[in-house]
Symmetry: C2
Subunit: 492 residues, 2 copies
Amino acid sequence: MTQELGVTVDKHKDVHEWYSEVVRKAELADYSPVKGCMIIKPYGMRLWELIKEKLDGKFKATGAQNAYFPLFIPSDLLEKESEIVEGFDLEVAWLEEDGEKDQDQRLAIRPTSESIITDYMSDEIRSHRQLPMQLNQWANVVRWEVSDTRPFLRTREFLWQEGHTAHATDESAEKEVMMRLDQYREMIEEEFAIPSITGYKPEHDKFPGAKYTSTIETLMPDGRSIQSGTSHHLGQHFAEAFDVTFEDENGDTQTAHTTSWGFSTRVIGAIVLAHGDDDGLVMPPNIAPIQAVVVPIYQEDNQEEVEEYAEKVAEDLEEKGLRVEYDDREHRTPGYKFNEWELKGVPLRIEVGPNEMEDQAVTTVRRDSGDKQMGLDREQFIDEVEQRLDEIQKSMYSELEDYQQENIREATSKQEILGTIGKSRGYVKTKWCGKEGCETEIKDQVAAEIVVLPFEEDSEPEQIQGDEDHLEGECAVCGDSAKRWAYFAKNY
Amino acid sequence: MTQELGVTVDKHKDVHEWYSEVVRKAELADYSPVKGCMIIKPYGMRLWELIKEKLDGKFKATGAQNAYFPLFIPSDLLEKESEIVEGFDLEVAWLEEDGEKDQDQRLAIRPTSESIITDYMSDEIRSHRQLPMQLNQWANVVRWEVSDTRPFLRTREFLWQEGHTAHATDESAEKEVMMRLDQYREMIEEEFAIPSITGYKPEHDKFPGAKYTSTIETLMPDGRSIQSGTSHHLGQHFAEAFDVTFEDENGDTQTAHTTSWGFSTRVIGAIVLAHGDDDGLVMPPNIAPIQAVVVPIYQEDNQEEVEEYAEKVAEDLEEKGLRVEYDDREHRTPGYKFNEWELKGVPLRIEVGPNEMEDQAVTTVRRDSGDKQMGLDREQFIDEVEQRLDEIQKSMYSELEDYQQENIREATSKQEILGTIGKSRGYVKTKWCGKEGCETEIKDQVAAEIVVLPFEEDSEPEQIQGDEDHLEGECAVCGDSAKRWAYFAKNY
């Protein structure tokens, strides 16, 4: 493998170095001259476009409409909901104050848009007939992260969608929050082939001002968890601060219930980390920018025929609706091409040489398993190609599902939690009393925290806020009576 | 018509007031708490999404790939190409300088991305094999306009696409510039049903640093011209400043030739102005967010059957691939609905009552002409609906084409130019020597300027830069020998 294409770091030895190298060499993204901001290159952008297209389709099919709100948020709006400011203050970037800029007040670059959108809803909503109002925007946001930034995983500017909705009842808002979280789960599990754990964030770690925050967590190969999407029930807190009221069926004035939910380019980092190997990316077929690549292999005396045959194979695959690349570059050897498409994680490589041409066949190589099948009947292969991609998708999911299952370990005492986190990767499942102090005791010693309170089939969301115990037994840390299961993990 | 939906201003009496009212009442956009920035509402956003989808398809079919570059541009990059800074300085918004922000230099909010993208190309491009490199990004940009802002037409933040390409030869860059301008022309003429004039900007009005700027201009009903898209040949000016070089086929180092081209949410303003009337918007069918609306008209005793029949009509139209709205709101009268869909400019209204149901028919009303056809056979109507929409599209174009033709008037002296602009709307076509002073003499007196030097079939683009005369005759202003035809107009 040439130096240019070779991944020089073993994934299991130094996953961070490996990540940086793969993201750049596979041409997903690059560093930019602006500290903490990345350049999303065409291959990475195509991936984001495919994610966007699928997620946007789900949103539109379930009542959401896209809109666009200003990049700038006046300070009085941010300050109106004082908990937001407290929660975000350190990360907010501001526009230069300048006489010429003729604004009455400071302008923040949006770190998130609850304030300006709730303000809009207050102007817009009059009647219960307008509810639910389900808005979404695809936009860039800026959070001036001071800790280590890394392409996709943590950048000062990132791309995302932020949904903002208003409802007549708490139940309707609750339903929205869970529906969006479930759409994120569908994306992550079905499209990205990554298993996940859904649940709540602890009270002290919820979105500032929210009633509760639900999250979808995915386990990375280094044993850390990535928060891959969040969906917040904002209760009436924001609606009260911004005066979002409506006339109900009886002509009475009511206050709305609002939600917000977001999914960002960060998930691209999760796809890279979850599936990649020492040769580079491994893309799940459902979301791969290129699902199959056709590489012709010829000698000087049969170049023309082989190329003609190979191109026809590529065309047939394209007609089946696949995203196909036909690689006819003359200045690259087949070996170089193989390495390059492996680096870029294309799920299926199709090799076509004189033998294949003669037999009306193709040879295929799977990126995930390396399995090579020679001399497959061409017609039959093309008929069955979607099924093959589906097999790859499923097998990539299964592998990670096993990995996740193996890396959830129960612990019943503080020492056991610390010991398990210290020597194993993944989640430590434990009973928890709900007090922040018990989390802090762990966090201070091993830099792991409660990343999720997993949904239990028999408990209702609002129970997270309640005072009763919903669980038999005692908190593993303090011994007080337990409230919920909690998953401790190191996170991104 | 209810107060809520009624447009209270006559378009021909006060086009600016009319515009503001229609944009808000038709729910395309609204003012925001940030001075000079708008909120794009779902109906306006859907329109922009349709525009984006069609234009993006054209770009991708002709080699462009999407990417995403940072919102922030470090001052040293902006200053590297000193002509850009001069050209944009007043309009640039800067991030607050702050020790905590840990940047070495000031950061601008991108007013356009030539500098950061050319800098990237300099890192990226090594070989002639990578050329042409055709990048595009869909993004928000900020220009701190000091003059009157107006939704879509002039806002401090707007959405656009900006294409940036690098080429091995001047010819290749030239071809790119003209191809993109032609794609803009296709959008404007074929999708928006607005005739246009393409040509160059005068030398003193080109993009800072460009070899030349080409523009597409559209004539509005108040006689003003809107610059609806621009495509710039940047020559080697940017490539030299940022050191974009490549190794050619012979192993020699060459400097690249670059271009840039942009199309923004401003065009939505042109669609509103060009087609709207005293009842609100008139949307060209090809780009209309809703192409047809089905309104059921019933009494209490036949509501169920009529609704069932009407819904089936809507479903059939949807199956034909149309963007259809079925308006079954119970709390609105048919008359209210008619007004609302007229306000929103839906090209075709389909009325369905008990008579239509009995006859298996529909009644249609065209938004553009008001033509009503009663008792059309339902099956036949559905079969022919695309053709009907196409007729509307064509007829909307023809009407404006006549208007544009009638409003290009030739003038052969300064007095005649001033007189024609003073008493007529539209373009004044005149021979021009190429000197800025001759434009200034007109501009100072009537606030009209040279908006375009129209392409002539027999002249080559580079002739704009040349010293020779390409035209028989004399400059209408100074009497020196003329170089080109120029169109004077007031503009947006």
